[in-house]
């Protein structure tokens, strides 16, 4: 049986606990259950009472395809609500090899304490002085750890942004190529890790425990069908591997929903220059890799290795959201500049979506001109330094808007909007408003039914069916995140009749106990109930489930539609 490792960051005591009441959970269901049960909702997110939970999903200990995503949970410094931030990288793949389902960081050291590196070994935790890492950018820090523990070392790092406890700070996880390239981006969880004075978590590369499925035959059969489902769908077998998520630039632009110049238009003249097609051509010409997995066991491989003009490695995990945010939303049409911004965010340890919107605020304020990619790079590099401007920017979109008197602020629950204008993709707007996470597209990706004709087809400009779609997707997503599966399996799952029962069979094969499609749904529902209860106790009401007024007042070209849902109308998207 896997265990939960609890580490007190003040006393340096640690315990390996049986799962107890948390048995049967994993990933997001586990992080959200622990946070909702053990963290008082009213606390300051940087105080000792907050807990940082890093967990693998229910299927993390298996070799099921795409089952190695990592969930990180805490009370969010950015939203003030519960947070589950989901990442690729090797962390969740390695945890079971140490006999672990999750690690919980508790309490915090006294003021003025030094940063530590936590070295997690089988049955043992070492607190190491992190002087050799403090102040370092993430790639350099990871190199130091590779030199000490070998190329295969698995790490979770905070960059300078996390050291300063800024609200855009993320946690970077190392990938199969030994680069700290994958982010638990949203919600400022790097600040929580920084507040506990943990610079790095290192998982012993020597650990080799394994978990045998209780019903090996059943598991094997289900696992094989699961692989066939993923490899049989055109999106998960062709579209995503070839073009990455940036394939969306052209289609969302065509649909008139690509937020441009801080959500002023749904079309960007420079879209083709920053499209997935252009990215793939560029990668091929520079001998990068357009197919790449963020963790061992990913068969979809939406990631890539993007080289600079000289053929030198520049970045990986170069996502649609990042390209939109630093591209169309800032009127920047130079893909190389955007790649540098992506790398800069990974180095300093900042969420790209939050920082991209923050840069839009900087442009509204006149700190840098619209379209000035080099200027943006300079501003990003200020974060994590002693420059007070870096402190402002590093605290995100709303904070920067306040500091400079900007009133066009695209946030819900203080978290910046992702890459789909809700006036032209109404279903995703319902998710932005009603998810427990603050504006988040992954929490209920209604772009599927609104634009992509996956899992259904509704009028993207209309209200009909949107609340129901968002609700169902929010439940399904919570389940996927709890199983440890990559959300992109959903493209195949939504179009395949037996997919959910195959997933249930994998769980049943693993545990040897009955598990049905209904149990998968219940996993999602109960996770959302935990999160909603936490947010309610933290003071969130229906009033917080709304977009800023400009979405209501300003029609979005080219379709000239406005946001027309009331908060009341959307309450049905939340689990009762």
């Amino acid at each position: 049986m896997l265990k939960i490792l609890r580490i007190n960051t003040r006393t340096r005591e640690y315990t390996f606990e049986d799962l107890g009441a948390y048995a049967g959970l994993g990933g997001r269901a586990l992080t959200s259950r622990i946070v909702s049960q053990e963290v008082p909702a009213g606390i300051h997110p940087l105080s000792a009472a907050n807990k940082l939970v890093l967990a693998g999903g229910i299927l993390a200990c298996t070799n099921a395809a795409n089952s190695g995503r990592t969930s990180v949970g805490a009370k969010s410094p950015l939203t003030g609500g519960i947070k589950e931030s989901n990442s690729g990288g090797q962390f969740a793949h390695k945890l079971p090899k140490l006999g672990l389902l999750a690690i919980v960081l508790e309490d915090k050291p006294e003021d003025g304490a030094d940063f530590t590196t936590l070295l997690i070994k089988k049955d043992k935790v070492e607190f190491l002085d992190a002087k050799n890492l403090v102040g370092k950018l993430n790639y350099a820090a990871h190199d130091v750890l590779k030199a000490a523990y070998g190329d295969k070392v698995v790490t979770a790092l905070v960059g300078p942004a996390g050291e300063q406890c800024l609200m855009t700070a993320n946690i970077q996880f190392s990938d199969p190529d030994g680069r700290p390239s994958r982010s638990a981006g949203r919600g400022g969880l790097g600040a929580v890790m920084g507040s506990k004075k943990v610079k790095a978590i290192v998982l012993d590369p020597e650990a080799k425990d394994s978990v045998e499925p209780a019903d090996g035959e059943k598991f094997k059969t289900a696992r094989k069908r699961w692989l066939d489902i993923l490899m049989g769908h055109p999106v998960t077998s062709q579209g995503l591997p070839t073009y990455g998520t940036a394939i969306l630039i052209n289609i969302i632009n065509e649909a008139g929903a690509l937020p441009t110049k801080n959500f002023r238009s749904g079309r960007f003249d420079g879209a083709s220059k920053i499209s997935g097609e252009t990215m793939t051509e560029t990668i091929k010409a520079r001998k990068g890799a357009y197919k790449h997995g963020c963790h061992t066991g990913c068969v979809i491989q939406c990631s890539q290795v993007y080289n600079d003009k000289n053929g030198e490695y520049l970045t990986t995990g170069f996502e649609y959201e990042t390209i939109w945010g630093f591209g169309a939303n800032l009127l920047v049409d130079d893909l190389d500049d955007i790649a540098v911004m992506d790398r800069t965010c990974d180095e300093i340890g900042m969420d790209t979506i939050e920082m991209a919107n923050t840069m839009a605020m900087a442009m509204e304020a006149g700190l840098v001109k619209w379209g000035d990619g080099k200027g943006v790079i300079e501003l990003l590099k200020k974060v994590g330094t002693k420059d007070p401007l870096g402190r402002i920017l590093g605290n995100g979109t709303d904070f920067t808007a306040k500091a400079f008197g900007v009133d066009r602020v695209p946030v819900v629950k203080n978290q910046a909007l992702p890459a789909y204008d809700p006036r032209a993709v109404k279903g995703i707007g319902v998710t932005y408003c009603t998810t427990t996470q603050g504006a988040d597209h992954t929490a209920g990706y209604a772009v599927c039914q609104n634009i992509l004709k996956v899992g259904g087809d509704v009028n993207t400009l209309g209200k009909a069916g949107q609340v129901e779609i968002s609700k169902n997707l929010q439940v399904a997503t919570a389940a996927v995140d709890s199983l440890g599966l990559c959300l992109f399996v959903a493209f195949a799952v939504l179009d395949t009749a037996d997919a959910v029962s195959v997933i249930a069979d994998m769980v049943s094969g693993l545990t040897g106990k009955p598990y049905t499609a209904d149990d998968v749904v219940a996993l999602g529902v109960n996770c959302l109930k935990d999160e909603l209860a936490f947010n309610k106790a933290a003071g969130f009401t229906a009033e917080h489930d709304q977009l800023p007024a400009f979405f209501r007042n300003e029609p979005l070209p080219p379709h000239n539609t406005v946001w027309d849902f009331t908060a009341e109308e959307m309450q049905a998207a939340k689990i009762a």
Binding site: G239, Y243, I247, N250, T442, L452, K453, F488
Partner: protein, 75 residues
């Protein structure tokens, strides 16, 4: 009568030279244009006419913007 025509992702290879002002025959539907391009209909999952999802039977007009996509996803 002309339309602006775009074929995305894997369908890019079917894009004709005069795509920005692609000549239309009167009464042309999306299906007729797709056929003339030599593009197998089964490869086209999403059709956009003037930024709105449309079907193969949609009749095109002068000045329309037609976008053709294979099955795509991301996020």
């Amino acid at each position: 009568m002309v339309i602006s025509l775009k074929c995305f992702a894997q369908l890019g290879v079917y894009l004709p030279e005069n795509a920005e002002a692609y000549a239309l025959h009167p009464g042309d539907t999306v299906a007729a244009v797709v056929e003339r391009l030599g593009l197998p209909q089964a490869e086209v999952k999403l059709v956009f006419v003037n930024g709105l999802k449309a079907g193969f039977d949609t009749v095109l007009k002068d000045g329309d913007r037609l976008g053709l996509f294979p099955a795509v996803g991301g996020g």
